[in-house]
Symmetry: C2
Subunit: 216 residues, 2 copies
């Protein structure tokens, strides 16, 4: 399965491309913002394509040509301004969804925030609420698309080594999860079409990832 | 016709409530952020209701009870941070749309930006693009609702006295328009159900407002 990874140069993205390139069943196409980011992915033998998420839908659609799925794991990051929250986390995501449609790619995995429900916007600290709102509207746009979507809501991301075990369900208690495990969950999700049209939260737990994802 | 004016304390809002209270056919209910803003509206004999757009849908829905239409003319303003762009221009608008549904109010007038099409997000200066994106998604949300909506896209707003004459169509050349004329256009729109399900741009022009709105 060939997968366009949007936000490949992010921390989850790098884990995901690495795991995919080391697997038998996946090939990653890394969508990166500039050519200087390519070396990491070329060393893994992954194809790269340079597109900035602030470009138009057509540029992203061209990157999505001839792949079997799109994974959106781009994020404006905690240190950018709130303008990027709208332009990347919301508008970049929506453009990627529309680009998948244009390119005829049905399968779409969204890496969301842990809780993007309307109530979570209201209860978030003021400095975090705009990010939650941006992710909320991106998720809503995807749910209203006709794509074969899955929305993954990871807990607090850490750089710890993956444990391979998670707790995954529509709603789980808050907790941490290593980015490497999120990458494994994405692959397991792509391998299980029973996850289509669903969303789930994930934190570190006791169930092997493949088993946890199958049971969603 | 009783109309909830969301963003009543804004510059268009104040003109709108004034014109409505001085008319035979409208009564305004001014939704304001805090009680200190009430005096202006009480002097006009307008009902007021204190709700902050960052509150929940239910609070806004309560304000919308027993009105015949909702006008959204709130804006975060040019001097607030981009976080308010998401929280007011996008999320505040969407919550107001949802609140109108909850309250059973079908008629909804959105005061948008001059051009909120996808291409306008791309072509906007970087500092303005997040605002255009926020208004784009608010407009999209409204178009996908089942409300009897009209979206008004005014040109560059001025504080000049109204001329009573505009150029209005789905697409017009860029130009200025006094806020007072925008308020008159809103009232003419509410009086003409032929505007339901439509959007139009307005700038100062040669056609009397009522005539221009009827021809939309």
């Amino acid at each position: 399965m060939k997968v366009l990874v949007v936000g490949a140069n992010g921390q989850i993205g790098k884990h995901l491309v690495t795991l995919m390139q080391n697997s038998d069943s996946f090939k990653a196409k890394a969508m990166i913002r500039n050519q200087e980011q390519a070396t990491f992915f070329e060393k893994l033998g992954a194809e790269t394509v340079v597109v900035d998420l602030e470009q138009d839908i057509e540029s992203i659609a061209k990157a999505a040509e001839k792949v079997d799925a799109v994974v959106f794991t781009a994020g404006s990051g905690a240190h950018t301004g709130k303008d990027k929250t709208i332009m990347v986390d919301l508008d970049g995501a929506v453009k990627t969804i529309e680009a998948a449609k244009v390119a005829g790619v049905k399968r779409f995995i969204m890496i969301s925030s842990f809780d993007t429900r309307r109530e979570a916007i209201l209860s978030a600290p003021p400095s975090f609420a705009p990010y939650v709102a941006a992710k909320h509207y991106a998720d809503e746009w995807l749910k209203r698309s006709d794509l074969d979507y899955t929305i993954i809501h990871p807990g607090l991301l850490t750089n710890d080594q993956g444990t391979g075990k998670v707790n995954a369900a529509y709603e789980v208690d808050r907790g941490e999860i290593p980015r490497e495990d999120v990458a494994s969950v994405i692959m397991a999700t792509l391998e299980n079409d029973t996850t289509i049209g669903k969303q789930f939260q994930i934190v570190t737990g006791n169930t092997p990832i493949k088993e946890a994802v199958v049971s969603i």
